[in-house]
Symmetry: C2
Subunit: 395 residues, 2 copies
């Protein structure tokens, strides 16, 4: 495969032919290297992980599902190390090129999947999203991406990091294909109509002017596609508070997930990832009482806000992707800001779709997001399809 | 060079002929890869450091000094990554073999220098010691090693990490050679006699039974070589307190030393080292008031104890070297215990010599240490020489 983008894991040629018939027949797909593919070691973006794990005995649930639906797996895509990252930077396997902003990162941790879709190397791709790992790269590379309702798609055969946050997500460069993937992967749901769009004022207030400006037209188009539009501040406690609680809870979980392997192997990591794990190890059960409470009230808040066919509209990411040569300080600052937006669906477990409807004057993609009620994944995908048919992205 | 021990940095053939005449003429030496050697990049045990630094324009002061005294440099030795480690484990350049306990670590961070001396690959070697990096490997490999009085030997051309702790130290398998090196590297000092040996009861209380047993004969021999012997508890605040204060001060310093490079490069580290740096970055000036006070009182305490020709006798390390396949928890626990002993000379800046006079029943080396008053480095080396002539290590 021609991979000028560095989207695929070098040295791993994986092709698994899909079923000859099925709703995805003829489509190619890539899977982030967190998903098991029978007979291959799932490398998870870190050479020590690769070295210390055995080949998978069977493929991940979602990989099998796509194969059975007719899609052909054509490769494993690069991920941020053990999925800990939001920018798409990997010091071991390379930082995939963002084909729509070549001097900037593609976003992560599902970086290779987003880059491969945006660059036309595959039709669709699987990613994972715990803290934003599908939403961020889909926003940065200008593709459609869904983080589903937590628990809607089985994580069997996927490297999990934070069980109460982990989801299987997916990317397509076309809303119809995203919807087709959803039909195969998501459980059936009642076809409730979308009644009202809530513009998340606190989320929009956090973003850079360039992002807000790039999304203005897209917000108008989405507003025109729903019966009613109103505004709401999502987080009574402030998004910064939601963010810090998401991070604490998620850290605690991934710290525990990786602890015994880290202790046994003393793996090599980029400093960014080693630091995340080092700080995670210092979070104790006792630190979690307040975050658990906050999460419960955030869930109640969103369940109430999004009842009755309401969906939330917000920017997917608060700033343009950082440059590929960003310093650690710039990277950390970018991640701190990103999670102030991604924590909304993260903490509450709700589905969020990224629509690639915004673009800066220089052509850098800027994503707009819709968050639906628990289980409203298919309605979101359907609306994305409608929007793509009635409106083209600004040029 | 035949390097079955993995003591030398692979792929770096460095030979610099020493002067034809001089007090060290005919001796070979190795320098830890923290010392500049003109024309070579000082790699500091981390590939990203190597990649992001230029060749040295001139050799380190102590390297030049040994060359001028007639010793020939025959190689650069492996160090723990950027000198942060006490066990001699390096995930990038390999963990040097301890020739006297082949299934156990050689100690670090001057691991390769100690292994090369113990294995007879070189006559003498240069190391560095901030938190114990000469003392630990000399104890573990059963060689003589000096951590000099802080400031006694210029650190020019050496990668420093914690300026108020960093020292240039050295190793030899023979006390006479250690003394000869001292004559070349140390400033002249008045030849004050040693009047009294103080057995550090709190230090001996901390060590494993196997260590105490292995040192019993050595303590007797040293006691027989001095006019008077008595006992003392070194640290009124407890050695655990001294240890935690040394670590906090040292962390703060090395955190600052490496911060801008880490920020620019986001280097890859073993988790152990990445964690040290991550936690160091969280130490603030405000955390240091108490440690500074403690350090001042520790200095006053030792200056008083060691006045009038007194020297302190203590175990160099509290337990046998960990096995080469130790888990991170075992490694961390070993380091925590080591610094409870090495902090005595570390915090106070006093000279400490390791004497390879102990050995377990299985032949594993156990070092005995002497700490002298500020500037008494030469007296310590002289006493080491006397002891080596009057007593052979237990077999």
């Amino acid at each position: 495969m021609n991979d000028a983008l560095g989207a695929f894991v070098a040295g791993t040629d994986v092709v698994v032919q899909g079923a000859t018939q099925g709703p995805l027949a003829g489509l190619s797909f890539a899977a982030k290297d967190l998903f098991d593919v029978q007979g291959y070691v799932t490398g998870c973006g870190n050479p020590d992980w690769l070295r210390t794990h055995a080949p998978a005995r069977r493929s991940a649930w979602c990989v099998e599902r796509l194969l059975a639906a007719g899609a052909t797996l054509v490769g494993k895509t690069v991920t941020d190390e053990i999925s800990l990252g939001l920018l798409g930077i990997n010091r071991f396997y390379g930082t995939p090129v963002n084909p729509r902003a070549v001097d900037r990162v593609a976003g992560g941790s599902s970086s290779g999947s987003a880059a491969a879709v945006a660059g036309g190397l595959v039709d669709v791709a699987l990613g994972t999203d715990s803290g934003g790992s599908v939403r961020v790269p889909s926003s940065y590379t200008g593709v459609y991406g869904l983080r589903p309702t937590h628990g809607a798609i089985p994580v069997e055969g996927m490297m999990t990091q934070s069980p109460t946050f982990d989801t299987v997500g997916f990317f397509a460069d076309d809303a119809a294909r995203l919807e087709a993937l959803g039909d195969v992967l998501l459980p059936a749901s009642a076809d409730a109509a979308i009644e009202e769009l809530l513009i998340a004022t606190d989320a929009f207030a956090l973003v850079d002017d360039v992002v807000r400006a790039a999304l203005a037209g897209a917000v108008q188009r989405v507003s025109g596609a729903v019966p009613r539009v109103s505004s709401v501040a999502v987080a009574p406690e402030g998004l910064a508070t939601w963010c810090s609680n998401q991070r604490l809870l998620q850290s605690f979980e991934f710290g525990r997930t990786f602890a015994s392997w880290v202790d046994r192997v003393n793996p090599t990591f980029s400093f960014e990832v080693g630091r995340s794990l080092a700080l995670a190890a210092r979070v104790t059960e006792g630190d979690l009482a307040e975050p658990h409470q906050l999460r419960a009230s955030a869930r109640a808040r969103l369940d109430e806000l999004l009842g009755g066919g309401r969906i939330l509209c917000l920017p997917t990411t608060p700033q343009l992707p950082v440059r590929r040569d960003a310093t650690l300080t710039e990277m950390s600052s970018a991640c701190d800001r990103i999670v102030e937006l991604t924590c909304i669906a993260g903490l509450t477990g709700l589905p969020q779709v990224n629509l690639p409807l915004g673009r800066t004057a220089e052509g850098i993609p800027v994503g707009l997001s819709l968050i639906g009620s628990r289980g409203a994944d298919r309605q979101l995908l359907k609306l994305a399809g409608q929007l793509s048919r009635i409106a083209q992205p600004a040029s």
